[in-house]
Amino acid sequence: MVLLRVEGLSKEFDGLKALDRVSFTAEEQEILGIIGPNGAGKTTLFNVITGVYPATGGEVSFRGDSILGKKPHQISRLGIGRTFQIVRPFPNLDVETNILVAYGHRFYPHLWNSTLPFRQPDIQKEIDALIESTGLQPYAKQLAKNLPLGIKKRVEIARALALKPRLLLLDEPSGGLRFEESVQLMDLIRKVRDQGISVLLIEHNMQVVMDLCKRIVVLDHGSKIAEGSPEEIRSNPRVIEAYLGKEG
């Protein structure tokens, strides 16, 4: 079943076409890879889907309803979690509190509910479970700013999971990580999918993409140039050209 449908999506910045009529769908419980050279528009795509930038054309629908024009906080409450290319955990909050912020999404919409204390035993239980399933117990009480990059990325994913999302947007989760760290992170992403959450994965590390994704969308200069299985993408001449340049 289709979870996210992107149709003819465009985004211009002062005449620069960052996204040019991009269309694709993401199904339930799949990891869809989004690849492309630097400046292809991958992060812009995430920012338009999550409402950070308004689109200049096209349509985005999530579980059948249009989400274009909604604010980021509304979109996150609908069940779309995300991480950032350059990690943005809340630096001076500990890991547990980082996750609590996202957990609060169900309290924020009502002023009265937002006045309730956030330390409650039943909530703590859920947070503990989430911390355990993401392998963050040793860091639960540490400030996010003091953690190594690999753990910060894990905190971002755990935080996004606290939204109880149906769809997770991961922007280069393995970027800047050592080999072992990125292997661990891939395991976590698989685990997330097995919980029934779909993942849109922007990734530069081809091995990670080919391992995790059954389907891949390739962007170049804002346009979709290919879509298909890892094998198809690997042998697609346009993809090879986009990455390596045209032969003289």
Binding site: S76, R88, R119
Partner: protein
């Protein structure tokens, strides 16, 4: 009873403490810098003064009205502040401060440069309150505000504010409605500053635009930064130290702005978290002392 001089200092310090805590909500908790906070202090003072002297409204109604009006103006003026951040926000709020001061100064209704006089201490039990009684009244209000502050700090509202202070873009990706929670911080902070203004007006009995100018905004900010921005007791400590200092030494009073400026610079250089900030000397010493005594015990 306490001497008149002492009670004057105590009341002044308490008013500053309320003010510093109100700014701490906006700047400390929600991370939104404000260089125009004295404007809301002034709006409260003028509201209360005008209702009291012009409309004959009693103190007990005029001061809550001061908080209400300052809060409403806070919504109105908070909206342009939503579109800007950091240094631009600092300039916008500074501008708001200048505009409000100018309105008090140039519109005759507000008494112009002469200000408004004849604002008296409240009456109760058929007589005027003594200054000591007034002090205890403000003290009770201050303690109630501290309780409110504590409650908010432990609520989802406090958590949403922390997340906005830490990283706005990440906060809104986690379901935090930036507009709602920023406006809430501005309204609450402005309204409490207005309340402080009401108390201040009835204590001074005479108010002028200069009481609520840019210098005053900086004084309030200094107290918050000096004591420890975002901490629970920091603003109070800052208000005590910076409120009492000029009183005990005339030279400091004359060079008050200079002294505050130097203190602020020194704090930024050596103790950016303020006296009670997480990584400052005082809390560290306290923790060392605690662990030391627990080892002994």
């Amino acid at each position: 009873m306490m001497s008149g001089y002492l009670i004057t200092i105590l009341i002044t310090v308490l008013v500053y403490a309320i003010l510093a805590h109100s700014l701490n909500i906006i700047t400390g908790h929600a991370g939104q810098i404000s260089l125009g906070h004295a404007a809301f202090f002034g709006i409260g003072a003028y509201t209360s003064a005008l209702f009291y002297t012009q409309a004959g409204v009693s103190f007990w109604v005029a001061v809550p009205l001061a908080a209400l009006v300052a809060g409403l103006v806070g919504i109105f003026l908070g909206i342009p502040c939503l579109r800007v951040r950091d240094d631009f926000l600092a300039i916008t709020t500074m501008g708001i401060g200048f505009v409000v001061e100018a309105i008090f100064l140039y519109i005759p209704f507000f008494g112009g440069a002469m200000g408004i006089g004849g604002i008296n201490l409240p009456h109760w039990f058929g007589r005027e309150m003594t200054k000591s009684e007034y002090f205890f009244l403000i003290l009770i209000v201050f303690l109630l505000l501290l309780l409110l502050d504590r409650r908010l700090g432990r609520s989802w509202i406090g958590l949403a504010w922390s997340s906005i202070r830490e990283d706005e873009q990440a906060a809104e990706a986690m379901g935090v409605d930036l507009v709602r929670f920023k406006v809430l911080a501005f309204v609450l902070g402005s309204s409490i500053a207005g309340l402080a203004g009401g108390f201040y007006a009835h204590f001074l009995t005479f108010i002028m635009p200069q009481n609520f100018g840019f210098g005053q905004s900086i004084v309030i900010l200094c107290m918050v930064v000096f004591g420890g921005i975002g901490t629970r007791w920091g603003p109070f400590l800052g208000a005590i130290i910076l409120g009492v200092l000029p009183e005990i030494s005339r030279p400091i009073m004359e060079y008050r702005t200079l002294v505050y400026g130097v203190l602020l610079l020194a704090m930024m250089r050596f103790q950016p978290g303020g006296l009670l900030g997480e990584e400052s000397i005082l809390p560290k010493m306290l923790r060392r002392f605690q662990s030391h005594s627990s080892e002994k015990g």
